[in-house]
């Protein structure tokens, strides 16, 4: 019996082995295919994670550039543990208030993606006049712009913009009758400014346009987002309770930051720029001009080709018969006045016929004049304030170079794009 059993089982093992071999081969092949597909799918997910990490790096860089005074951010790696990491860096553009940002996101599995973007900020002094709320342009007001005073074209670059966050409270001629006067384009132009802008979330109205007001679109437009003026904080120096009056023979020395209880700039006031610009902070009133008679010039540009180039020797005149020497490029940036937030109104007062060169930021203050009608105020520079309700007409001459002077400090993303991982 044992011998019969042995014969009937002979040959079973090889057959079984062959069957198992074939089945195992099939299983292995199926597993390999499945694993390959799984790996591919997983890599797709890892790649998406890496992109999210790279984008997080751009957002982190955006936060950093609003807090630094340097011109670059060195490569910084942030680890998020098992989620991966990102490395970002940034450099300020040589020619404008733009940052170039770079970020590489690395997933936990090592998959990398590379993103570049630009951080852009709205210029603080990007308009001839900007208000966050009420903006009343008195009869005869105007806004034009200049590059320099060497040609009539350069004295009329068509960037004389008036902007507001509240177009519903933007009015012309509310304090007097008649139409706005023409600006540097001549009397046939028919509009008060080169253009107007309303800032907001995109649903805001256009500024008022038509004869004697803003020119029609596209010169008048709306843009997003709203222009939020940065709050002005007191500088870390002692408040001067008895500040000097700047007037003829008593210039302000540049290269310094001042903290004055109030600012009084009379006729003949100048800034000595030998050591740089003068920057004045104040919680009080800024008074520009003389309360009696014509105010004359306050911080006029010097007749120096070293400072103003060929503008200093120009013999041209603008349509108001002002000398082209007044159109000195960049000069307005030498006198910067910041009215500290919460100072209230009236914080900024212009007297009759004041001719002023400078820039003023006053996020909680109103721009006023004590005259009315024709005694107009000329401003070569830019004013950004909470509101403006002047009685007298203003003639703003915006200096094109002021757009790059300072930003609002609120950066947003532009030119976001993916680049190959190097």
């Amino acid at each position: 019996m044992p011998q019969r059993i042995c014969r009937t089982q002979r040959g079973s093992i090889p057959i079984t082995m062959m069957v198992m071999l074939v089945v195992t081969g099939l299983v292995v092949a199926i597993l390999a295919t499945a694993q390959s597909g799984l790996k591919l799918a997983r890599r797709g997910g890892d790649s998406a994670n890496a992109l999210q990490l790279a984008d997080a790096g751009i957002n982190d860089a955006l936060k950093q550039i609003s807090q630094t005074s340097q011109s670059s951010i060195s490569a910084t790696t942030v680890s998020l543990g098992s989620a991966g990491s990102y490395t970002f860096s940034g450099s300020r553009d040589c020619c404008s208030s733009i940052w170039h940002l770079d970020s590489v996101g690395t997933d936990a599995t090592g998959v990398k993606r590379h993103v570049k973007a630009d951080g852009t900020t709205q210029p603080l002094f990007g308009n001839a006049l900007f208000t966050q709320s009420t903006l009343k342009m008195a009869s005869g007001s105007s806004a034009d712009s200049f590059r320099d005073g060497t040609t009539t074209a350069n004295m009329c670059t068509q960037h004389g913009l008036v902007g507001t966050n509240t177009p519903s409270q933007f009015t012309f001629n509310s304090n007097g009758g008649g139409q706005a006067i023409s600006n540097c384009r001549g009397n046939t132009y028919g509009y008060a400014t080169d253009g107007c802008i309303s800032y907001g979330d995109g649903t805001q109205a256009l500024p008022p346009y038509g004869s004697g007001a803003c020119p029609p679109p596209p010169a008048t437009a709306k843009t997003s987002p709203a222009l939020q003026l940065p709050q002005v904080q007191a500088p870390g120096i002692t408040l001067n309770q008895s500040p000097p009056v700047c007037q003829a023979g008593s210039p302000i020395q540049g290269g310094q930051i001042y903290y004055w209880s109030n600012v009084v700039l009379r006729q003949g006031c100048t800034v000595d720029t030998t050591n740089g610009r003068a920057i004045i902070y104040t919680p009080g009133q800024v008074e520009i001009g003389d309360p009696h008679g014509n105010s004359g010039t306050i911080n006029p540009p010097p007749a120096s080709t070293a400072i103003c180039g060929n503008t200093a020797t120009s013999s041209l005149k603008d349509v108001w018969n002002n000398t082209a020497k007044f159109y000195c490029p960049g000069w307005a940036a030498n006198l910067q006045i910041y009215i500290i937030s919460g100072s209230g109104s009236p914080g900024m007062l212009f007297h009759n016929h004041a001719q002023f060169w400078g820039v003023i930021e006053a996020p909680t203050t109103t721009v006023l004049t004590d005259g009315s009608g024709a005694p107009h105020v000329d401003v070569w520079g830019s004013i950004v304030a909470n509101s403006a309700s002047p009685n007298a007409q203003f003639a703003f001459h915006y200096d094109d170079s002021l757009g790059d002077l300072s930003g609002t400090g609120r950066y947003s993303i532009a030119n976001w794009r993916e680049e190959p991982v190097s």
Binding site: T8, V22, G202
Partner: protein, 198 residues
């Protein structure tokens, strides 16, 4: 006798195994084609969404190229033709160097044009009619490109291109036929337009 039985059993088993192998092979082939198609779609979507994500801006002028359906125009043509600018390492806020990239759905394929411009805004290289993926069979009701605003509402304007240019995201949908008689592969991917974030 035993040999006959053993051989018969082996033959039966072999026949079954061959049938199994034939079926498995057919399934594997179909699966392989399916997987390949999915991978091709995934790669195409990756390329397309990478470009779309960086759009700055989406063009409102319908491109004159054979890569997009002819006799069409914006805004109705946005569903099957999307042209955009991607700005590269610009300095001082200028808009060059840049690439102008166009994707279109024509003749059962997604085509791509790309024109590169240098920092002087002069065209340097031009590639036209590159096939990104073929065998695309999107039915007329399934647009390749769908646009959504920041609230997630689909942009459907037939009168203005502006809402398409300011869209917050673009959904790309590709329906690909990888084998006749087999179900089509449908893959979608949504790209948030990073330069349209406010």
């Amino acid at each position: 006798m035993e040999l006959v039985v053993a051989t018969s059993v082996l033959l039966i088993f072999t026949a079954m195994a061959l049938q199994f192998l034939a079926t498995a092979n057919s399934d594997t082939n179909r699966t392989t084609k399916d997987v390949t198609a999915e991978n091709n779609v995934r790669n195409a979507l990756r390329l397309m969404t990478e470009d779309i994500r960086a759009a700055d801006p989406i063009s409102t002028t319908y491109p004159s190229t054979s890569s997009c359906p002819s006799a069409a125009s914006y805004p109705t043509g946005y569903g099957s033709c999307l042209s955009m600018t991607v700005v590269h390492n610009s300095a001082g806020g200028v808009t060059c160097p840049k690439s102008v990239i166009t994707y279109g759905f024509v003749s059962g394929a997604i085509m791509r044009d790309k024109v590169n411009y240098d920092s002087s805004c002069t065209a340097t290289t031009t590639t036209t009619g590159t096939t990104v993926i073929s065998n695309v069979v999107n039915p007329s009701g399934t647009k390749v490109f769908r646009f959504f605003d920041s609230s997630g509402n689909e942009v459907t304007s037939t009168s203005s291109s502006s809402p398409y240019q300011t869209a917050a995201s673009v959904m790309v949908t590709l329906v690909v036929q990888y084998q006749s008689g087999a179900p089509n592969v449908t893959v979608s991917s949504t790209a948030a337009l990073r330069n349209n974030r406010s």
